[in-house]
Amino acid sequence: MSVATTEYRARSTVSTPRDLPRIERFDAFYRDEFPRAVALAYALTGNRAVSEDVAQETLLAAHRHWDRIGTYDQPTAWVRRVLINRATSFHRRRTVEWRAVLRLASRGANTIVPDLEPEDAEVWAAVRELPRRQAQAIALHYVEELSLEEIGEVLGCSPGTVKTHLHRARTRLIGRLGVRYEETT
């Protein structure tokens, strides 16, 4: 932990102008993470408005707990974990989607994230039909380009388990998408 983060933790109960670096630090984190979070959520929800809401809500949660999360070695891992939890939760998706529909209706069709081409949308639709863990592993591996170890850290399982999830997911996707895959060692 850096000296700076220790200092942020020590001053967590008093807000002064000196807190501004902490705010700026979250600001930079937010700018970096928002598009990545939207991409990951988009892959797992298939809905652009929902993906933005899920990303926004996840980063707002990080913002609320930034005193703690900001001290983590990898706050991004926390964000990814919360995000995939939310993105793959049907209830939240429905709830968030409903709010998103209301919001979009109130401001017209001013959508921000453009649609995917049909063949890319087909891939993610097939991924979303996978069991939850397999879908999450695929999205983290391909969208976030994480290693087995990094995915294991997010999902809370071993790299070997991640490899199993990916293998099973690919086996299913081959059938659904009608493509070939040759496993390399």
């Binding site: 967590s12 109960t13 008093v14 807000s15 002064t16 102008p17 807190d19 501004l20 705010i23 600001d27 937010y30 700018r31 928002f34 598009p35 990545r36 979070a37 939207v38 991409a39 988009y42 892959a43 993906s51 933005e52 926004q56 980063l59 707002l60 949660a61 913002h63 609320r64 707990h65 930034w66 005193d67 926390w78 974990r81 919360v82 939890n85 793959t88 939760s89 049907f90 209830h91 994230v113 649609d115 995917l116 063949e119 890319d120 891939v123 993610w124 695929i138 391909y142 969208v143 999902l155 809370g156 399982c157 388990t161 690919r170 996707l173 081959i174 493509v179 070939r180 895959y181 040759e182």
Partner: protein, 197 residues
């Protein structure tokens, strides 16, 4: 050539490109602007107080609670990574497990053989956490205490707080003593009993 890899990589590039055009929402900008204003106003107030009353008064002035402190979670450190709810009449209507106990920095969960996970929501009067040994002691009034360690296999009795298929939270009044960390993965399970397989 791996056609599957190619399609997944292309589809991934497409969502990244699409999301790259997503602009951060104004909500947060407004929130941050409010923070800055608060912080600046507080700074201004401090200067004013210093000018009028002097340095001694400055030291006696009450601290302003930060937005972060105001929105802190209800986690209680004494329960460590456990999710703990206030004691309430139990509903031991379902079973979860056998599952292997996984103790992480912010979560305690159970993993069963098919890889599905549960996050036990313990009753505050039945569970204690020992941070030194990283053990959970479950003490039900009707049975001997059980000391639970990472890697142990246990069976939970109680009721799910989610729909099994869709993770739909059941509408129930849960008074949290130590709220589950948002990063905890798995089905939230209101635990009313614990037994060994």
């Amino acid at each position: 050539m791996n056609q599957l890899d190619d399609r997944l990589r292309k589809a991934s590039a497409a969502v990244r490109a699409a999301a790259g055009q997503a602009a951060p929402r104004p909500i947060l900008k407004e929130a941050k602007a409010m923070w800055k204003k608060l912080a600046m106003a507080f700074g201004g107030a401090l200067i004013g107080v210093a000018l009028v009353v002097g340095g001694a008064a400055l030291l006696r002035s009450a601290p302003l609670e930060s937005p972060a402190a105001a929105t802190s979670t209800t986690r209680t450190d004494s329960f460590g990574p456990l999710a703990v709810r206030a004691p309430a009449p139990g509903g031991d209507t379902a079973m979860w497990g056998p599952g292997r106990v996984v103790i992480a920095a912010r979560c305690v969960s159970l993993v069963n053989e098919d890889g599905s996970e549960a996050v036990p929501a313990w009753k505050a009067d039945e569970v204690t956490w020992d941070a030194e040994t990283e053990t959970i002691t479950y003490a039900h009034p009707d049975s001997d205490p059980i000391v639970i360690r990472a890697g142990d296999t246990i069976i939970l009795g109680g009721s799910s707080l989610e729909d099994d298929e869709d993770a739909v939270p059941i509408d129930r009044d849960i008074e949290w003593v130590a709220e589950p960390d948002p990063s905890c993965l798995g089905e939230l399970f209101a635990t009313d009993s614990v037994r060994l397989p």
